[in-house]
């Protein structure tokens, strides 16, 4: 039997599955760091989040959408890991299950499944958990290498929360900074925070891997990070006693995780490079506005979700450069 079909008759070996499992691979370093510093609690959260994300997608796909099996495409696993990365490692087990249901059910499947959602599913769920369980979502276990304690029980604030609270109480930055982790610790991830966001180094390694594999392009992460750096740099130049320095702003909080893994989500980010630059700029800007003047110490999640909502507009405004549309100089 001969097959008749339109050209092209060749297909590249890239696939949705490859992309998704590529992202999973890129998240491995951050996962290792999470388990190293936060112990079995982190492992438990990751396993529950991934397991229930897969389960809920299977359930909804089979009984509500009544479509073919989709959980093998890797996207539910990515959402599961990202959700786990966005919560503290001591979150009660049932909260992460609710989180998985919100991420998959509301964040993704209610729109029709993979590729159709407007907002990053893991962030929808994170924000849902944050407003529903504010205490549990902001009690951060103190990190200590797994060789010392298997499960952490002592909690403390994140560096960003500590600074915001301290400044609010009238302390100066000089006093506060003595109690903050050093840059080395910030880079490695030895500080309080959501289990996947702490190690800038591990996240950057993952980002480089994704750039190498052409899963992401540089535009979004770079524009987010540069915006944060410049914005906080200007404030810091104006008043170094009141505003934290730009390096501190890059290494703490969720900005690395957000810039590299959350904002680059293909489904919810703009299609053209110019649009991606604007998108990244918007995320960096909103993040800093919330960090400096907002009620929350951290604003990456809100920033990304807000920018997600304008992606269709950005796509309308930023078209690729068309061939043959520029007037030739005679």
């Amino acid at each position: 039997m001969l097959t008749i079909s339109g050209s092209p008759h060749l297909h590249g070996d890239n696939s949705t599955k490859k992309i998704m499992y590529g992202v999973v691979t890129a998240m491995l370093p951050a996962m290792v760091v999470a388990i190293w510093y936060f112990g079995l609690g982190a492992l438990e959260i990751i396993v529950l989040s991934v397991g229930f994300s897969l389960f809920f997608e299977w359930l909804i796909q089979k009984y509500l959408i009544k479509g073919p099996l989709t959980i093998t495409d890797g996207s539910a696993m990515v959402t599961g890991i990202l959700l786990a990365f966005n919560v503290p490692s001591n979150l009660p087990w049932w909260m992460i299950i609710i989180g998985a249901l919100v991420a998959i059910g509301i964040g993704k499947m209610s729109f029709g499944g993979l590729g159709k959602n407007i907002f990053n599913p893991a962030l929808v769920s994170r924000v849902f958990l944050l407003v529903s369980f504010p205490v549990a979502m902001t009690s951060w276990p103190k990190p200590s290498p797994i060789t010392k304690t298997l499960v952490d029980t002592i909690t403390g604030p994140t560096p960003l929360g500590f600074v915001k609270e301290g400044l609010g109480a009238g302390k100066t930055l000089a006093e506060l900074s003595q109690h903050l982790p050093g840059y080395g610790q910030q880079l490695m991830g030895q500080m309080g925070g959501s289990l996947g966001e702490v190690s800038a180094l591990a996240l950057i390694i993952g980002g480089i891997y994704m750039l190498w594999k052409k899963i992401i392009t540089w535009e979004i992460p770079v524009s987010v990070l540069v915006t944060v750096f410049v914005f906080s740099g200007i404030l810091w130049q104006i008043d170094p006693l009141h505003y934290t320095n730009p390096v501190f702003n890059l290494l703490t909080g969720g900005i690395m995780l957000g810039a590299i893994f959350m904002a680059t989500d293909m489904v919810t980010s703009p299609m053209t490079r110019g649009g991606q630059l604007l998108f990244g700029f918007g995320i960096g800007l909103i993040t800093m506005l919330i960090r400096v003047w907002g009620a929350y110490p951290e604003g990456v999640s809100f920033a990304i979700l807000l920018m997600n909502s304008v992606v269709p507009l950005i796509n309308k405004g930023f078209k690729p450069k068309r061939f043959g549309t520029v007037k030739m100089a005679a």
Partner: protein, 446 residues
């Protein structure tokens, strides 16, 4: 090498798989019967000038141009017109064709059918164009646009560059490569003839860097030639596309919806340059061409010189026979070629290759949902948004598709090749182009 020239927007690099590279061109013996379609060119089909039962000689005119954009057709064999009937061609449709029973191989008088190399041409531009027109030459890269029409520069336009297309960016195909290696001097003379016809003093032969032997040979051959340069190009598909090649060589962009002459360029394939050489110096019409017959399961991938009208089956037999697990026969290259329904369609002027794909490679992968990765947009050489255009075509919003530039699509297939969700983007873009074409024609009629 440093930075090699190439086009700017998009492009892909599929595995080259040039299985028949370096294989000398073999002449395939004349078959017992040929099928010569009347419409072998882009534009109007040709009109027959012989009838059933007529005796014809090799090289005799059997159909003349049926319009301005049309071309002559000559008998590729000597024998009897057995029938004039609708026969299936590479498109899968039955179209008017001559069926000629072969008797011997008697050539028309005045055609020099030897390999003697003729270097000097003293004809004027008009005489050259007339000869090219008489010989029925069309673009041999596959587009089959009548060559003489391209040589007639419209009033108010000025040709500055002749670009000879030796890119052969389609995977698997090696016909042009091998032709350059074996007929280099003839191609150079052909280039000079074309320059004369166009009255230009600059010609660039563009060759991709995966053919270093051809680049070196053509450079040596043109070292003494005034105005002809060889331009090595970075390997990138679809660099053989006219607009992409012009951009790569001259950095000029053909405006949307316009022809290359708008930026002072005329592009001709190396195969066309060779055919022009034969037509002008030897009075030989376009009745044979070099075809790459290739495929991973094929015993002996080859470059064959065959008469127009030869059934594809004869070529496959010559290359080792039809492999059992063949799932698809492609006329042309794997990116832009057409799937053939049977081996019994004839080779035509635009047949650059025959590719046999194994059963496992013949099927499309299962389509998944679009994950908006924008890779189709990144690889589109025309700067379009294939995901958007395909969606607009899918829902039938052709007006919007027109606004988004669907008519600029050159159907190179880069988007569909790249799509990780395996969406048949080009199918929908073709649908969109088709429907928008109808809209445009309806508008101009009113």
């Amino acid at each position: 090498m440093g930075f090699l020239k190439t086009f700017v927007l998009g492009g892909i690099h599929p595995p080259e798989n040039k299985l028949s590279a370096g294989k000398p061109i073999r002449s395939l013996s004349v078959p017992v019967q040929v099928v010569v379609p009347m419409g072998q060119n882009l534009g109007a089909p040709s009109k027959p000038v012989v009838k059933r039962g007529d005796k014809v000689k090799t090289g005799q005119l059997i159909a003349e141009a049926g319009g301005f954009i049309s071309s002559n057709v000559h008998s590729p064999v000597s024998g009897t017109i057995f029938k004039i009937d609708n026969m299936m061609d590479a498109s899968g449709f039955r179209r008017p064709a001559f069926i000629i029973k072969v008797e011997g191989d008697e050539w028309m008088d005045g055609i020099d059918n030897t390999e003697t190399f003729v270097k000097d041409v003293t004809l004027s531009s008009e005489e050259i164009i007339a000869k090219v027109k008489n010989a029925g030459i069309v673009g041999m890269g596959g587009a089959t646009f009548p060559t003489h029409v391209k040589l007639m520069v419209p009033p108010g336009r000025n040709a500055e560059y002749l670009i000879i297309n030796g890119v052969e960016c389609e995977p698997y195909l090696t016909a042009d490569h091998q032709l350059m290696l074996e007929k280099g001097p003839e191609i150079v003379v052909g280039t000079k003839i074309l320059m004369k016809a166009l009255k230009v003093n600059r010609a660039v032969i563009g060759i991709e860097n995966n053919k270093p032997d051809a680049i070196k040979l053509m450079r040596d051959l043109t070292a003494e030639e005034e105005g002809i340069v060889v331009q090595p190009l970075k390997v990138k598909y679809p660099q053989g596309g006219e607009k992409q090649l012009i951009k790569a060589v001259t950095n000029r962009e053909v405006p949307s919806g316009k022809l290359p002459i708008e930026v002072g360029c005329v592009v001709q394939n190396v195969g066309t340059a060779f055919a022009v050489y034969e037509a002008v110096t030897k009075n030989k019409p376009l009745i044979e061409r070099v075809v790459t017959v290739t495929g991973k399961a094929l015993e002996n991938p080859s470059n064959l010189r065959v008469r127009i009208g030869t059934p594809v089956r004869a070529l496959v037999d010559e290359a080792g026979g039809f492999p059992d697990d063949t799932g698809k026969i492609i006329g042309g290259g794997p990116m832009m070629g057409k799937a053939l329904a049977t081996l019994d369609v004839p080779v035509v002027k635009g047949t650059s290759g025959i590719l046999l794909q194994r059963e496992e490679a013949a099927h499309r992968p299962v389509e998944g949902p679009c994950i908006r990765c924008s890779k189709c947009t990144q690889v589109c050489p025309m700067g379009l948004e294939p995901f958007l255009l395909s969606r607009l075509a899918r829902v039938g919003n052709y007006e919007a598709a027109e606004g988004e530039g669907v008519m600029d699509c050159i159907e190179c297939g880069s988007c569909q090749y790249t799509c990780p969700a395996k969406i048949p983007l080009l199918d929908y873009l073709r649908l969109g182009k088709n429907k928008v074409g109808v809209l445009i024609r309806a508008r101009t009629k009113r």
